[in-house]
C-alpha cells in the first residue's frame, strides 16, 4: 500500500512546485512592500542580498557580451524581479530558470550555499562548460535540476545524494564521464532520471533499485555495462524507458513484466538476454518498442490484441523463433514492423493485411516460406517492404501493384517463380527495386520503364530472358543497375545507369550488347536472332510526309541543278553526305545506308506505301533502323530549304517513348530517304488484322497501347512548343514494339508539309480517322486542286462516307 500512496504524495509535491512556477507573483513577496513583521522583513532582505550578491558574482564570471546582455536586468539588489528568477513568499529565490539562452560560462563561481530555498535550477540548453561543482549538493531543497544540453564534463558529483527531495534530474546530452555514483539510490523521490547521451560508463549501482517512483529513465547512448536494475518498474509507474546503445548484458529487468504504463521502450543494441515471451507483459499504452540487436529468444506469443497503441515494433537481430502470429494483425495501430534477422519460420500471415496504417514491413533474413499473400494489396500505406533472404515462393502477386505508395521493394534471395508482374509498373514512387536471387523467368515487363523515380534496380541472378525493354530509356532517375546472371540478350538501354555500370552488372547473360564497359558492340548475330523470332514490319503510309519529301526533293533539285552538287544530308550533326543516328558517336554516311539496304534490295523491303518503300537496314554498329526511300519526285512546290531543315531538326529533337524517333533525312539527286527507329512488331492495323497476332494482343496490352498513343499525342499537343498536330493518327501509324508498347509514327510530317499548322488548308489525314468536319475541307481542297493526285485517296473516302 505504501508504494501506492507515496507516488501520490510525490505527485502533490510536484504539483505544488508547478504552482510556484506558474503564479510567482502570487507568492512573491516584494522586498519594498510593507511587511507584517519587521523581523521577517529584515531576514528576507538579508537573504535577498546574499542571493543577489551570489547571482551578480556569477553574472560577472560570464565574460561574453551575449550572456551579459541576456542578464541585463540583473542590476539592483532585489533579484526577485530579475530575468529567470522567481522568489517564494518569503522573498527567497525559489526558482532559477534560464533555459535556451545561450549563456556561456561555468558553474564554478556560482555560490550554491547562498540558495538554501532553491527548488528549481534549470539551465538546460545553454553553453555551460566545466564540471558540475561538488557544492551543488548544498542546494538541499532542490526539486528540479535541469542541466541537460550543455557542454559539462567530468563526473556526476557524489553530493547529489543530498537532494533528498529531488524529483527531476536531467543532466543528459553533456560530456559527463565516469560512473553513476551509488548515492543516486538516495534520491528516492526521483520521477525523472535522464543521463542519456554522455560518456558515462561502468555498471549501474544496485542502489538504483530503490528508485521505484521513476516514470522516465533515459540511459541511452552511453558506455554502460553490466545489468539493468531489476526493480526499476517495481512501482509500476515507468512510462519511458530507454537504455539503447550501451553494452548492457544480462536479463531483461523482471519488473518490466508488470509495467502497465509503459509507453516507449528502447533497449536496442545491447547484449540483453531473455525469453521475449516470458519477460514482457501486456502494455495497453505501449507506443514504441525497439528491442533489436540483442540476444533475446522465445516466440512472439504476446496478447497482441491488447496492444492498442503500438505503432512501432522492432525486434530485429535477435534469436526469436516460432512463427509470426496471425494475432499480430490485431495490433491495428502498427505502422512499422521490423522482425528481420531472427529465426522465424512459417508463412507470412494474411492477417497482417488488417494493419491498415502499416508503412514499413521488414521481415528479411528469416526462414519464412509460403507465398506472399495477395492480401498485401490492402496495405495501401506501405512505403517499404523487405522480405529478402527467406524461402518465400510462388509468383510475385500482381496485387503488389496496388501498394501504390511503395518506395522500397526488396524480395531478393527467395524462391519466387513466374514472371515479374507488369503491375510493378504501377508503383510510381518506387525508388529501390531488388528482385535478385530468385527464379524469375520470362521477359522483363516494359512497364517497369514507367518507374521514373527508380534509383536502384537489381534483377540479377534470375532466369529472365529476352530483350531489355526499350521503355527502360525512361528510367531517368536510375543510378545503379544489376542484371547479371540472367538469360538476357540484345542491346542495353542507352541511359547513364546502364552505360556507366561496371561489367559485373552484365555478366553471365545470353548476349547483351552495347557500348558499356566490357560489353561487345551490338552485332549482326544478335539482331538476326531477334528478327527471326518476330514478325518484322514497319508500316508507313504517310500521305503527308511523303508528299512533303517529294516536294523537297523537287525543290532541292530545282535549287541545285545548275550547280550539279549533291545535297547534304540532314541529321543531328550537319556534314555533307552524312547524318548522325542519335545515340551513336560516329556519323553514318549515306553510302552506309545504301549498303545496309543492299542498295535498296527488294529482300530488305519490309513495307510499301504509295510514296515510298521501307527497308530494314542493319547498320555496322548492329543497330537496326527503318529507311524509307522516297519515289523520285514527280512534282514539287518551292519551299524554303532553311525552314525545312529547321523543321527536320525539330522533329529529330523530339524524344518520347511512344513516338517513333526520326533519326535523320538524306536527300540526294538519286536517293532521298528518311531514317527512323525500327519498331519490331509493325503496325497496330496489321496486328489487329491477323488472327494470331490479335489473340496475342490481350486486353492489358490493348489498354496499354491506347495509353501509349494518348501519351504521345498529349506530348505533341501540350509539351512541344510550338504544339505539333499529327493530323494522320490511324492504326497504320501506330507501331508496336516487342513489349507491345505503342509508338506513334509520322508525327509532324503534316506540319513539315504545312508549317502553319492551324491553317484550314490541311489535306493530311487518312480516311476513316478524320473528324467529320475535316472531310468537307478536304473536299474543298480537292475541288480546288483537282490535279493534285495526292488527295485522291481521301476523296474516295469522302464520297464513300456520304
Amino acid at each position: 500500500m505504501s508504494f501506492l500512496q507515496k507516488p501520490f504524495s510525490k505527485f502533490l509535491q510536484v504539483l505544488f512546485f508547478l504552482l510556484l512556477i506558474c503564479i510567482p507573483s502570487f507568492f512573491a513577496f516584494p522586498p519594498n512592500s510593507s511587511a507584517t513583521s519587521f523581523g521577517a522583513a529584515r531576514y528576507v532582505a538579508a537573504e535577498g542580498n546574499k542571493e543577489a550578491e551570489a547571482l551578480l558574482k556569477w553574472k560577472a564570471s560570464l565574460h561574453d557580451n551575449h550572456s551579459q546582455s541576456v542578464l541585463s536586468s540583473w542590476v539592483d539588489s532585489s533579484p526577485c524581479k530579475w530575468l529567470g528568477i522567481t522568489c517564494d513568499n518569503s522573498g527567497s529565490v525559489a526558482d532559477f530558470s534560464l533555459p535556451h539562452f545561450g549563456l556561456r560560462g561555468t558553474l564554478q563561481s556560482f555560490n550554491f550555499s547562498s540558495f538554501p530555498n532553491l527548488l528549481t535550477l534549470n539551465l538546460r540548453n545553454n553553453s555551460l562548460y566545466g564540471t558540475i561543482p561538488l557544492e551543488i549538493g548544498l542546494l538541499t531543497s532542490l526539486n528540479v535540476l535541469y542541466l541537460d544540453k550543455n557542454n559539462l564534463t567530468g563526473l556526476i558529483p557524489s553530493s547529489i545524494g543530498n537532494f533528498r527531495n529531488l524529483s527531476f534530474l536531467n543532466i543528459a546530452e553533456n560530456n559527463l564521464s565516469g560512473f553513476v555514483p551509488r548515492v543516486i539510490g538516495q534520491l528516492e523521490s526521483l520521477v525523472e532520471l535522464s543521463l542519456h547521451s554522455n560518456n558515462l560508463n561502468g555498471s549501474l549501482p544496485p542502489e538504483m533499485n530503490n528508485l521505484t517512483h521513476l516514470m522516465i529513465l533515459h540511459l541511452f547512448s552511453n558506455n554502460f555495462t553490466g545489468h539493468l536494475p531489476r526493480d526499476l518498474c517495481l512501482g509500476g509507474l515507468l512510462v519511458n524507458f530507454t537504455a539503447a546503445l550501451n553494452h548492457f548484458s544480462g536479463p531483461i529487468p523482471k519488473s518490466l513484466r508488470n509495467c502497465p504504463r509503459l509507453f516507449r521502450v528502447r533497449l536496442e543494441r545491447n547484449q540483453l538476454t531473455g525469453n521475449i515471451s516470458e519477460d514482457f507483459g501486456l502494455y495497453p499504452n505501449l507506443n514504441y518498442m525497439d528491442l533489436s540487436h540483442n540476444d533475446l529468444y522465445g516466440e512472439l506469443t504476446w496478447k497482441w490484441g491488447g496492444f492498442h497503441n503500438l505503432t512501432s515494433l522492432k525486434l530485429s537481430n535477435n534469436n526469436i523463433t516460432g512463427e509470426i502470429p496471425s494475432e499480430l494483425g490485431k495490433a491495428t495501430g502498427l505502422q512499422m514492423i521490423d522482425l528481420s534477422s531472427n529465426l522465424l519460420k512459417g508463412t507470412i500471415p494474411k492477417e497482417l493485411a488488417q494493419l491498415k496504417a502499416l508503412y514499413d514491413l521488414t521481415l528479411h533474413n528469416n526462414h519464412l516460406f509460403g507465398v506472399l499473400p495477395v492480401e498485401i494489396q490492402m496495405l495501401s500505406q506501405l512505403r517499404a517492404l523487405n522480405l529478402a533472404s527467406n524461402n518465400l515462393g510462388g509468383s510475385i502477386p500482381k496485387q503488389l501493384g496496388e501498394c501504390s505508395n511503395l518506395l522500397q521493394l526488396n524480395l531478393s534471395h527467395n524462391k519466387f517463380t513466374g514472371s515479374i508482374p507488369s503491375e510493378i509498373g504501377f508503383l510510381h514512387f518506387l525508388g529501390n527495386l531488388d528482385l535478385s536471387g530468385n527464379l524469375l523467368a520470362g521477359e522483363i515487363p516494359s512497364q517497369i520503364g514507367q518507374l521514373n523515380q527508380l534509383e536502384t534496380m537489381n534483377l540479377s541472378h534470375n532466369k529472365l530472358s529476352g530483350l531489355i525493354p526499350t521503355a527502360f530509356v525512361d528510367l531517368v532517375s536510375l543510378t545503379t543497375v544489376d542484371i547479371s546472371y540472367n538469360e538476357l540478350e540484345g542491346p542495353i538501354p542507352k541511359i547513364k545507369a546502364f552505360i556507366e555500370a561496371p561489367f559485373e552488372a552484365f555478366i553471365n547473360n545470353s548476349g547483351l550488347c552495347g557500348n558499356a564497359s566490357g560489353l561487345k558492340p551490338c552485332t549482326l548475330l544478335t539482331s538476326r536472332r531477334k528478327s527471326s523470332k518476330i514478325v518484322i514490319l514497319i508500316l508507313f503510309p504517310l500521305l503527308g510526309s511523303l508528299l512533303l519529301l517529294l516536294i523537297m526533293v523537287g525543290c532541292l533539285y530545282f535549287h541545285h541543278r545548275t550547280s550539279r552538287e549533291r545535297i547534304s544530308c540532314l541529321g543531328e550533326r550537319q556534314s555533307p553526305h552524312s547524318f548522325v543516328v542519335w545515340g551513336h558517336e560516329e556519323e553514318i554516311l549515306h553510302e552506309t545506308i545504301i549498303q545496309a539496304t543492299n542498295n535498296f534490295n527488294f529482300n530488305n523491303c519490309i513495307g510499301k506505301g504509295g510514296y515510298g518503300i521501307v527497308y530494314r537496314a542493319m547498320l555496322p554498329t548492329g543497330q537496326v533502323v527503318a529507311v524509307k526511300k522516297l519515289h523520285p519526285s514527280r512534282e514539287g512546290e518551292l519551299m524554303n530549304l532553311r525552314t525545312f531543315r529547321n523543321e527536320i531538326r525539330m522533329l529529330i529533337d523530339i524524344r518520347h517513348r511512344n513516338i517513333v524517333k526520326l533519326y535523320g533525312f538524306c536527300s540526294l539527286i538519286e536517293h532521298s530517304f528518311l531514317v527512323y527507329e525500327f519498331i519490331e512488331r509493325g503496325s497496330l492495323k496489321m496486328n489487329l488484322s491477323s488472327e494470331e497476332q490479335a489473340m496475342d494482343l490481350d486486353w492489358n496490352r490493348r489498354l496499354n497501347a491506347v495509353k501509349g498513343v494518348a501519351n504521345a499525342l498529349s506530348y505533341l499537343h501540350h509539351d512541344c512548343s510550338p504544339p505539333i498536330i499529327h493530323r494522320d493518327i490511324s492504326s497504320s501509324n501506330v507501331l508496336l514494339d516487342l513489349e507491345y508498347e505503342a509508338h506513334v509514327s509520322d508525327f509532324g510530317t503534316a506540319r513539315l508539309l504545312m508549317p502553319d499548322s492551324t491553317n484550314w488548308t490541311s489535306f493530311a489525314g487518312t480516311f476513316g480517322y478524320i473528324a467529320p468536319g475535316t472531310y468537307l475541307i478536304s473536299f474543298l481542297i480537292y475541288v480546288y486542286k483537282q490535279n493534285n493526285t495526292t488527295s485522291t485517296m481521301k476523296m474516295e473516302g469522302y464520297f464513300w462516307m456520304l
Binding site: 490479335a694 489498354l703 493530323r727
Partner: protein
Amino acid sequence: MTRIFAELAYTMRVNEKCDVYSFGVVTMEVIMGMHPGDLISSLSASAFSSSSCSQINQHALLKDVIDQRIPLPENRVAEGVVSIIKIAFACLLANPQSRPTMRQVASELIARWPPLPKSFSAITLEDLMPQTTVRG
C-alpha cells in the same frame, strides 16, 4: 447545306481536336479489333453521320461489340475497357469543343479506373455515351 456550313463553322481551323477524334477512332479499333466504321457514325450526331444513321442499336451490349477473338475482360481490366471506351466516345463527339484535350485523356488513363456500374456483360453502348448531347 446549312447544316454543312454549321459544321464548317467550328471546323474551319484544323486543330488538336482533329487528332483527338482520330485517337477515338483508333481506340475503338483496338477495342473492337476492326475499324469502328458504322458504329462511329451512329454515335456522332453530326451533319454527316445523321444522314447515314447506322443500323447499330445503341442498346447493343458492349460485350458483343468488343473484339470477339480474345476472352472477355475481367475485373480491373474490364473496368479499364469500359473507361477507355467512355473516353473514346467523348473523343468522337461531333463538336470539337466538346472533345477532351489529349492531356485530359492521358491523365484520365493514368487515373484509377472507377468500378463498373453493373456487370460487364450487361453494359450497353448507351451506358457509355457522354452526357453532353450535341445537336447538329
